[in-house]
């Protein structure tokens, strides 16, 4: 089996385990390339179907093209989509000028926690990858969150031989990470191989493109001429900057993402 086939087979296995062993399940779709690949993998696992809803935690600050792309894809594929916002925080004027980490916490972490409780999700499928950032590299495939959504990262269960964490107290939930072992390069090679439609924002326009999508005020572009997935694959082989270098919130503190994730950030 090729490297990409092996990654795909493992991700499909994880998605099927989640579908079988967890109660109410949803897929966190950030509109970005990783969770879009995850959506594709779900349809592979369930033969064209996506047997759980997609969830978009909308901060209200997303790049407008992302929202247009989201609505178009949802309509075309006939998917069930839940859009959730922390409207109280938005009405109170929350934004990046109040501090980027405070903003992430209110509009993403807190919104996600409220959404999880409101809908009673027992499993959330999330497209995080180990190579993105240190605390994500330490994750488990089935990662438990307690009632407060906290992640006890210093005391994680062993994951022996694909036996995942499927026993936990009521009120806790599991973050399922089917593409944990994929790298940014794997994602783009897979998009190329399978011809998966992703947002146009990833492709160069006027000599710039987004390498990592997020909220408009905090996501920057890189200088690039790559206009297709295969050109991005070639470009990635040359760059040494980390993928999330253009995400302003990560640069606030050496452990910014770890601190956010401890409290329930994706």
């Amino acid at each position: 089996m090729s490297h990409l086939e092996a990654l795909e087979a493992q991700s499909v296995y994880v998605l099927r385990e989640a579908f079988r062993s967890l109660g109410k399940l949803g897929l966190l779709w950030s509109i970005g390339k990783d969770s879009t690949v995850l959506l594709w993998l779900s349809r592979k696992a369930f033969y064209g179907h996506c047997p759980f809803p997609l969830i978009h935690v909308d901060t209200g600050y997303k790049i407008p093209e992302m929202i247009a792309y989201r609505d178009r894809v949802t309509r075309e594929m006939g998917l069930e989509l839940i859009v959730y916002q922390n409207s109280a925080a938005l009405q109170a004027g929350m934004g990046p000028e109040k501090g980027r980490l405070a903003c992430c916490k209110a509009l993403k972490t807190d919104a996600l926690a409220a959404m999880t409780k409101a809908y009673g999700f027992e499993g959330l499928i999330v497209g995080v990858r180990r190579d993105e950032e240190g605390s994500r590299s330490k994750e488990r495939v089935f990662s438990e969150r307690d009632r407060d959504d906290s992640w006890d990262y210093a005391n994680q269960p062993p994951e022996l031989w694909g036996q995942f964490k499927t026993d936990f107290p009521k009120g806790h939930h599991i973050r399922v990470h089917p593409i944990l072992d994929w790298t940014e390069m794997d994602i783009w090679r897979y998009i190329e191989k399978e011809n998966i439609p992703v947002s146009d924002l990833y492709f160069s326009r006027g000599g710039e493109r987004y390498r990592s999508l997020g909220c408009a005020p905090c996501a920057g572009t890189i200088v690039s001429e790559a206009r297709t997935a295969s050109e991005i694959v070639l470009e990635l082989a040359r760059v040494s900057a980390p993928e999330r270098a253009t995400r302003a919130q990560d640069q606030e503190d050496a452990y910014a993402l770890e601190k956010l994730r401890k409290d329930g950030y994706m």
Partner: protein
């Protein structure tokens, strides 16, 4: 093409502070596997914390790990050589984080054990080696790190190599390759060290290519993961754990041993049509039959099915906070099956330092390795680990947590999960069950806290709370027409009842009630009466043949 490259998952294990993370960090940096940006970020974090930059910073990403200079959890990093790709798994060496080490090692296909050249083999070096052997490793690479601290001397290296090779040898593991290096000084990482001209080993980046994946199994094992009904088709979903399959293959589904045929393989997108699948693939089968499929069943080819059993002997490492004890119940998860399991016996607990097996231990503590017998609530399909890895290993769940992992050594099957087994003879027995008077409601109950299956040579528990047998006695099991000879506390023989002849030993029935027989003649009379074969009128009362009180009493049980 790029894509066809092989990826090998390698775990780095070893005692705390022997430098696993430093070795990996150095390897990644010197081979250019880590982006300069990540290095800059790690340097900045070190500076901010007022600490000197360490290569381990590249892997120890968590704030607490860097502050304490200790790896808490595993990290997985990609790395490549000219030969192949690697997924490098950094395992924590601290005793407290053994479960994280095992989690990382369980996912690996090959392993390096890192040993400090100055301090030599220490407690966790041995414990990790022992865990690797239980996880199925037959060959382990050894890195003797910190050669700078021993002046790069060959004698220092040779001494450690001899020590660790001998220990691994006792576990039936080959130590190869054995690489001397200094991660801190960057010696023997990507280029051959001039300071160690005596070394026969290539530098680490090349030595990695000498590691080998443990062999894979050949025959088909496909545990059923789920059954879907999509678009009017019934699809049996699962992953091919070993072997391969093709449309048209005749297969058998265990434990029910039902035969069927693979009619088609589902796929999406629908084209191209899928006609075969190999090891590692997640597939969906459309089968020719109409019977009910359940998660946990195993699909195999005809003529090569897995075993079906409800009693298993296993090697186990225990990670639970509460000790594993005889009579306790756990959830056993093997491949996709899950079943309640009772600890029937703790055969021995093995000391990781000396590898001595200590029999008769009452319980197994955290981080200990043991051999145990488990009784399962129902029969499942499985294999001995030596024959099939994926269907021969399991975890035990205690409450909400995975508390241990084990490999199947031997299996037995019996209609009831307690009794005696020898070839075709399977005899149910309650002779080691307890009788309690329940104070609460005044009822008398029989409980078998640790039901298990005994075979020839097994030691038996002669004394319980409510019973006590002599060291040698005979058991006549009428309902299954078998006899068992117990001699000096162990099963000496199991035979059909018709082959048994009275030998002057005390006699009990299958429930442990004494049979009133003091001679061959009396035995034959009692036997015929209990089999209902005596002449009419000769079948006196039960009390004239059996005596409850000789070896048994009724104990007070339960709460007030």
């Amino acid at each position: 093409m790029e894509e066809a490259r092989e990826t090998l998952k390698v775990v780095f294990a070893g005692h705390v502070d022997h430098g696993k993370s430093t070795v990996i960090g150095r390897l990644l940096l010197d081979t250019g596997a880590i982006a300069q940006g990540a290095v800059d970020k790690a340097r900045a974090a070190a500076k901010e914390a007022g600490q000197p930059f360490e290569f381990a910073y590249l892997l120890d990403a968590l704030e607490e790990e860097r502050k304490q200079g200790v790896t808490i959890d595993i990290a997985k990093i990609r790395f490549r050589t000219a030969k192949r790709d690697y997924l490098v798994i950094d395992a924590p060496g601290h005793r407290e984080f053994l479960k994280n080490m095992i989690s990382g090692a369980a996912d690996a296909e090959a392993a390096f054990l890192v040993v400090d050249a100055e301090r030599g083999v220490e407690e966790q070096s041995l414990r990790h080696a022992h865990a690797l052997s239980l996880l199925g490793a037959r060959r382990v690479g050894v890195i003797v790190n910190k050669m700078d601290l021993v002046g790069y001397r060959e004698e220092a290296f040779a001494r450690i190599r001899a020590e660790i090779t001998a220990y691994l040898g006792n576990l039936e593991i080959d130590a190869f390759p054995v690489v001397p290096l200094s991660a801190k000084a960057g010696e023997n990482i990507v280029t051959r060290s001039e300071l160690m001209p005596w070394s026969a080993s290539p530098p680490l980046s090349e030595a990695m290519d000498e590691l080998e994946r443990d062999r894979s199994d050949e025959s088909l094992r496909l545990p059923t993961q789920d059954v879907y009904k999509f678009d009017g088709r019934r699809i049996v979903a699962g992953r091919v754990e070993s072997g391969g399959l093709q449309v048209g293959d005749r297969v058998v589904v265990s434990p029910g041993k039902r035969e069927t045929q693979i009619r088609a393989l589902a796929s999406w997108p629908p084209a191209p049509e899928k006609v075969a699948a190999r090891e590692g693939e997640s597939v969906g089968l459309i089968l020719a039959d109409e019977f009910f499929h359940r998660r946990g069943e195993i699909i195999s080819h005809l003529g090569d099915p897995p075993q079906v059993a409800d009693s298993i002997k296993a090697s186990l490492f225990w990670l639970g906070r509460a000790p594993l004890a005889r009579g306790k119940k756990y959830k056993l998860k093997l491949a996709t099956a899950a079943v309640e399991a009772t600890v029937a016996e703790i055969v021995s607990v093995t000391d990781s330092q000396t590898l001595n097996a200590r029999p008769g231990a009452p319980e197994v503590g955290a981080n200990e390795v043991a051999q145990i017998w488990l009784s399962l609530k129902e029969k499942i399909a499985l294999d001995p680990f030596s024959r099939h890895r994926a269907t021969g290993r399991f975890v035990l769940v205690d409450g909400y947590d995975v508390a241990g992992g084990g490999i199947v050594l031997e299996t037995r099957a019996l209609a009831a999960a307690a009794g005696f087994l020898e070839g075709e003879i399977s005899a149910r027995s309650e002779i080691f069950a307890e009788y309690f008077y329940r104070y609460r409601d005044g009822s008398i109950v029989r409980e078998n806290p640790a039901p298990r299956v005994f075979a020839k040579g097994d030691k038996v528990p002669l004394r319980g709370i409510s019973y006590s047998y002599p060291a040698s006695f005979d058991v006549a099991i009428f309902r299954d027409r078998a006899a068992v000879l117990i001699r000096e506390g162990a099963v000496a023989d199991i035979m059909p009842l018709e082959k048994y002849s009275y030998g002057g030993f005390p006699l009990v029935n299958g429930r442990g009630f004494a049979i009133k027989a003091g001679s061959a003649e009396e035995w034959e009379k009692a036997r015929d009466a209990l089999l209902g074969q005596g002449p009419p009128g000769a079948l006196g009362s039960v009390g004239s043949i059996l005596d409850f009180n000789v070896y048994r009493k009724i104990a007070l049980g339960g709460d007030l």
